[in-house]
């Protein structure tokens, strides 16, 4: 059960995650805001891919940061932070996801809600913006429709730009296993996203 890979990734941030975590642990709670700023978009997208509903994703994002802050004391300095924060996030999302799945399959409404992505590009050309939002919604819908074992890997790799090594550390899976899932997922994504021929 406890197969854990000992990989510490070297990062080259202006202020590394580890420095910020260290500051927070030493009592500078405001430092944690940098962690929020750094990860909120990525984790939101992850939550949205899993839950398919922006309101639930926002709630989940908030709860994830509450958990991360609460358990920050359990993070071992010297380890890589990103796999740790994603493990915390995924554990929380899986919990919500399981409950949701138990209740009923995703409704059509949830899928529609994927379209209602927030607009963070004020001032852009409305048409380009609309296309961008449409692409993003299509991408999230596609990821959301994947089977669970592919969805988690695709979310981390493509939506969060994690490396296969980091994903391996986060999910306690071999790199080969992750590569094989990504391979299968790419084939499926190409198939389902290539079917978007309905509009002209």
């Amino acid at each position: 059960m406890l197969i854990l890979l000992g990989v510490t990734l070297k990062r080259d941030h202006k202020q590394s995650d580890l420095e910020i975590v260290n500051k927070t642990l030493q009592g500078d709670t405001s430092a944690f805001k940098t962690i929020i700023e750094r990860y909120q978009d990525y984790l939101y997208r992850t939550a949205l891919a899993f839950l398919g509903n922006p309101e639930e994703a926002e709630d989940a994002l908030q709860e994830i940061f509450i958990n991360v802050y609460r358990y920050l004391g359990t993070f071992r300095l010297g380890m890589a932070f990103r796999p740790w924060i994603y493990t915390t996030a995924l554990n929380h999302l899986k919990k919500i996801y399981r409950k949701k799945k138990k209740n009923l399959k995703f409704s059509a409404r949830d899928n529609e809600m994927l379209e209602s992505l927030p607009d963070n590009s004020r001032g852009s050309d409305p048409q380009i913006l609309a296309e961008k939002k449409e692409t993003e919604a299509a991408v999230l819908r596609a990821v959301h429709s994947l089977q669970d074992d592919l969805k988690v890997v695709v979310t981390l790799y493509y939506l969060n730009e994690m490396s296969t090594r980091e994903i391996s550390e986060t999910l306690n899976l071999s790199i080969e296993n992750i590569k094989s899932r990504l391979y299968r997922a790419r084939k499926i994504l190409k198939k389902i996203l290539g079917k978007n021929k309905t509009r002209l």
Binding site: Y44, F65, P118, G194
Partner: protein, 233 residues
Amino acid sequence: MKGDMACKKVETLTDLWAENGILTKDEYNYILAHIKSCGGCSLKFSHLMPFINRDINDRFTTGTLPEKDILSSQKYTDFHLNGSPNLAADSIMNNVLNAQNRFNRNKRLHRVISAAAAVVIIFLGSIFLSSYIQKSKTEVLVKFSLTAPEARSVSVVGDFNNWQPSPLVPEGPGKNGIWEIKIKLKKGRVYTYNFLIDGKTWIPDPASPVKVKDDFGGESSLIHIQGEIFKKL
């Protein structure tokens, strides 16, 4: 190149991507340029572009979290995902701090309730779980141990150390996978705790028969430090 040839080339390139998960910048740019001028291919491939964009072979160094400013200055922004929640970081931060204050208050309350409710059943737990090494009038030295041969680190976290991890050390010179720590605890108290493996996996003590649900869907173990109350039983 004629239109249909270009379409075929784009089809081949996206097939290559699906097969190998990698394309060069030039190949990506080729697809991008083509779908801007070809309606059919645009419908077919534009939603695939964020995925392919991720797989441009030298777009960023693996293992590095891409900073937003770097992303926005990238040449390949056309198909970057930019969805961002309506929540401001300040508002999240405030909620985090409020939740933490509530959590701390609840933990204190929880400890009192646990002590009252578990006072009878916990006695057994304390026998199974830990051995008392040394006794004083008010404190005992309790050994926490866990068998986890593949763990890189094991800590115990509980209300006795304010949920800050105390690391266990491997037992003895051999690699038998047993980790242990001795901690002074007060007599007569009931404590809630978990083991924490490699800084991320929380488990209750497998040796403890008494567990309670925590706030996060997991379980914590309870230990009662034998005190005066049990001497009377």
